[in-house]
């Protein structure tokens, strides 16, 4: 008997503008001990399905028909009380956004204890020691169980939710995008952890994600959802290696792969289907290059493919092999083959040795004694240049200072040192009364769509707000808003104008945030993880959109992300950051092909592989980056570097230590090269470097 049996499940939401058919006739089952993946674009109904299983649908959502059997019991028929007993004891849940899934005013340990004591009659002491044990299992310091959520980083909070899910050793864990928004290295560790533990406890896992790569590496079976319909399902090996459904093919092709470097990933053009009616035609027909009249007439049934664990819903499944071949060609999808590299224009932004130090708080006593305060060197001597039509990618794991760098060049934070020139004018010019102009020309798109959108404003107000503030295109306000919404793929734009952020899916929210930035036709765009909440296909759309803006509108773009794969795909040049410094910089192609710094190498290796037949060596970098207050002397990467030698710990290598044309790296023993004889000599490398870009390695004081 299978553990979870979902049959013909249909879920709808009732809204002011009609019914939303979020999940339509989906069936699948999960056996004991199996990892099941659920993939699909934003808005395809993944979360809705999970919430239906857990009985967590919001009040306007309801299960229209179908059954959800868990260990033979139909969950849809349970009373509130019975359901509460099943939750957590049998089915646990790892929520989509760890950032705001923990109760901010309750210590993390207490929240886990609460989960235990709700279901088991145990003493506080026992529960506490269980929590310590769980912290240990997920790799958190057991002495921190009394800390509050805000004292943990995003990755650590996700570990807390995992610890919570494990507390009662449930039979089924439902993980909704457990790693979305975390950087690759943390993501890799978390997935590794989930698998390890789940293996030990022998529970089943329903893993929801839009990263096909993660599913390929971790799951046995999967379903691909689109428009609330299961398009293809079966064993991971079959479905991902030999997809038979055009949607799966498109999804797989749009997952960028680092090796393919500059080859354009094939995205699926168009936007997700309108869910206001139950599907009459194939839900994918509007975007499917293989659609025929037959597809208009009805949505295809899922049919078993002979002799293997593989089902697909497509009228043309018999022509799968042919479609597979065509699908790799961008022209099939109506995308012009490759864009011509437009010339990169004049330098728009330039920084030299830019610094942003934060003073650490001191006690009154220390202040009275006049001790020098400590500084957190969030950005420590960064020299950058961005031209018009150029996309500069900035990569690095969380906490390396990339967001601070973004905010500093957006002048949202005051630099504490170094030079800054934008559009030919220095920092002082803008601070001196020209901030408004700067704010219009430079837009920043933030990481977290929840934080950056006011929940009480409609999309129209949100996107229109910058127009009012800057008195820009006010006479044709509505048109500007609609144009921009369409530019970012929120079509039909009118449908979204009066919606509030909470009525949009995570992906749609992020696109509103992008529209807000684009509505002022800026010259320069700073994107801080704009795509971390988006699924692959939307991510590719966004990346293509940025690329297009850079090429056609002469915008300079800084793209900050931990996701190297998308950086490689969108950027012209890359800068890799570690602890506030740029440790490698150069053209995308040469960094992707021949990383020189060991840190870059490990970042590249942490990206998941979408082909389930390839076995990837996980590179689990030891530990976390050191405390940015107490930096080790010498190379800051040395404590985690597999190649570190004594020489590395003596002097800090400058960015010009290795130099190959434009490609530079701060390492004495670069990868793919014979080690330099005497590292100390190489330190003076800037002597033959470009003086404008002299080594930023030594940050002196925090003087302004």
């Amino acid at each position: 008997m299978s553990l979870l049996d979902i049959t013909d499940l249909t879920v709808t939401y009732s809204t002011d503008s009609g019914t939303v058919h979020a999940v339509n006739d989906v069936s699948f089952s999960i056996d004991e001990g199996v990892n099941y993946g659920l993939a699909g674009e934003s808005g395809s109904g993944k979360s809705t399905l999970a919430e239906a299983v857990l009985g967590l649908l919001p009040s306007n959502g309801s299960v229209e028909s179908g059954s959800i059997e868990f260990q033979g019991r139909d969950l849809t028929g349970l009373s509130e009380r019975e359901r509460r007993d099943v939750l957590w004891e049998d089915i646990a849940y790892i929520p989509q956004s760890a950032m705001d899934s923990l109760d901010p005013v309750m210590s993390t340990g207490a929240q886990i204890r609460q989960a235990i004591q709700t279901h088991r009659n145990v003493t506080d002491d026992k529960a506490r020691s269980r929590v310590r044990e769980l912290f240990e299992i997920v790799g958190l310091d057991p002495d921190r169980i009394d800390d509050y959520p805000h004292e943990f980083s995003g990755g650590m909070r996700q570990r807390v939710t995992i610890a919570m899910a494990l507390a009662l050793e449930p039979d089924l864990i439902i993980a909704d995008e457990p790693t979305t928004g975390l950087d690759v290295i943390v993501q890799d560790k978390i997935i590794d952890k989930i698998l390890e533990i789940q293996d030990r406890m022998d529970s089943s896992l329903l893993l929801i994600t839009h990263e096909i790569g993660v599913i390929a590496e971790t799951c046995d079976e999967l379903s691909i959802l689109y428009g609330g319909k299961a398009m293809e399902q079966g064993s991971v090996d079959n479905v991902l290696v030999n997809p038979t459904n055009p949607y799966t093919m498109g999804l797989k092709n749009s997952f960028p792969e680092i090796e393919e470097g500059d080859q354009d990933p094939v995205s699926i053009p168009g936007s997700p289907p309108n869910l206001s009616e139950a599907p009459g035609a194939c839900v994918f027909k509007d975007r499917c290059p293989f659609a025929t009249e037959e597809c208009e007439a009805s949505h295809p049934d899922l049919v078993d493919l002979p002799n293997r664990n593989h089902r697909s819903a497509c009228h043309h499944v018999t022509k799968a092999a042919q479609m597979r071949r065509d699908a790799t060609d961008p022209e099939t999808w109506g995308i012009p083959d490759s864009h011509d590299e437009s010339d990169r224009g004049e330098v728009l932004l330039e920084t030299d040795g830019l610094e942003k130090y934060y003073e650490q708080s001191q006690s009154l006593l220390e202040q009275l004694r006049g001790n020098d305060p400590n500084y957190v060197r969030a950005v420590d001597g960064v020299s950058l240049r961005v031209r018009r039509s150029e996309i500069l990618g900035i990569a690095g794991e969380s906490g390396c200072g990339k967001s601070t760098l973004g905010e500093t060049i957006a002048l949202l934070k005051q630099p504490t040192g170094g030079e800054f020139v934008f559009d030919g004018e220095p920092y002082e010019h803008y601070v001196d009364g020209n901030m408004r102009e700067f704010r219009r020309k430079v837009q920043i798109i933030f990481q977290d769509p929840f934080d950056s959108l006011n929940p009480r404003q409609t999309v129209r107000q949100l996107v229109g707000e910058p127009l009012t503030i800057h008195d820009y295109r006010t006479d044709e306000r509505e048109r500007a808003i609609i144009e921009t919404l369409e530019k970012v793929g929120l079509t039909p734009a009118r449908k979204f104008l009066d919606q509030y952020p909470h009525q949009l899916s995570g992906g749609q929210r992020q696109r509103v945030a992008v529209a807000k930035a684009l509505v002022l036709d800026p010259d320069f765009l700073i994107c801080d993880e704009p795509a971390s909440m988006l699924d692959v296909s939307l991510k590719v759309n966004l990346l293509n959109l940025l690329r297009e803006l850079a090429d056609t509108e002469d915008i300079g773009i800084v793209y900050i992300s931990h996701d190297l794969a998308s950086l490689v795909q969108v950027s012209d040049r890359l800068a890799i950051m570690y602890l506030g410094r740029v440790i490698e910089e150069g053209d995308v192609e040469s960094i992707a092909a021949e990383p020189k710094h060991p840190y870059t190498t490990s970042l590249l290796a942490a990206a998941p592989e979408k082909d389930p037949t390839v076995d990837r060596d996980r590179v689990l970098l030891d530990g976390e980056p050191p405390n940015p207050v107490d930096l080790p002397s010498g190379c800051v990467f040395a404590p985690r570097c597999p190649k570190a030698e004594d020489a590395c710990r003596e002097n800090e290598p400058g960015l010009d230590t290795v130099r190959d044309g434009e490609h530079r790296a701060a390492c004495y023993f670069p990868d793919g090269e014979i080690p330099a004889d005497d590292p100390a000599d190489d330190r003076s490398g800037s002597a033959y470097g470009n003086p404008e870009f002299s080594s930023p390695a030594s940050g002196d004081s925090a003087s302004d």
Binding site: L54, L56, P58, E80, R84, D85, L87, W88, E89, A92, Y93, P95, Q96, S97, D100, S101, L102, D103, P104, V105, M106, Q114, A115, T118, H119, Y148, H150, E151, T161, M164, Y358, E359, Q360, S361, Q362, S363, L364, E366, V376, A378, S398, G399, C400, G401, K402, S403, T404, L405, G406, P455, H502, G580, P628
Partner: protein, 331 residues
Amino acid sequence: MSEFQRFLAKRLAISIVLTLVAVSVIFVVLRLLPGSPFESLVTAGNLSQQQITEIRAMYGLDQPMWRQYLSYLQSILLFQFGYSILRSQPVWGVLAPRLVNTLILLVPALVTTAVLSSLLGMYVGWNRGSKLEKLSIITTTFLRSTPVFITGILFVIVFAYNLELVPAFGMRSISASPEGYVETFASLDFLHHYILPFTVSVLYYSGDFLLLARNGVVEKRGSEFLKLHRAKGLSEMQQLARAGRNSMLPILTYFALRLGMIFQGLILLEVVFGWPGIGRELVLAIQQQDYPLVQAAVFIMALAVIVANLVADVLYAYFDPTVSTSGGGAA
């Protein structure tokens, strides 16, 4: 914790400056008023010019302005309020009982309403869209926006005159002549007089707390952490309790602020119910230009508001776990 100490020091400094400003404003405004406290006595022919000059000298009113200001500052900051001009007894002796009367009426009322309306607010916020929600919001908003004397008079007419359940006026019966606070307040007669003004002030304050609590819960209701609480198998009431706990902060700070304002009394209420509180006393003192009394009363009121603000800030920083640690790390 040093961040917190620094914060505390800053707040304290601000409060001290505010107090100085308030005290000075009182001084200046009172001197700007036309006439003097002795004028009425002079016109009534009770005092000769000679006597007035003597009295003025006794009160220091013949000194230059800056000297008056300095000695005023010195004594008021040491809580030496001097003598009431018209009542010829120490100001503190006049004010203290009135202040106690006001506090004994309003503090319990405020606490009661803060607890009850917040709970109700949380409940209706959780059951958003219910009839109870609409009803409670409309009622409390109505009570909040109607001047308190209208509600008061209405209650007096219904409960005192028509139903004759409670007395309409005063704090004790005319026949009672209690000595000291204990005798005054610990009696059934007092309770009898107490119940009506108490109820009216509870209703008057209820709207703000109800809305604050409701909005807090409504805002928290769709949040991700509540979804996780639900997934853990917490019951409705437990979830509501968490939502409530998460919206406590604004309520707590608002409570502290209100507590400060209570020292001003509710003048209209005191007039309607003949309650011998500080608000009524202040009005009388202003009419009679009794400088020392007015100064002291206004000073106490301002000080209470300033202290309450300080307490509110500190409470906020203390109870919000995200405020007390230092911010400003790397990205």
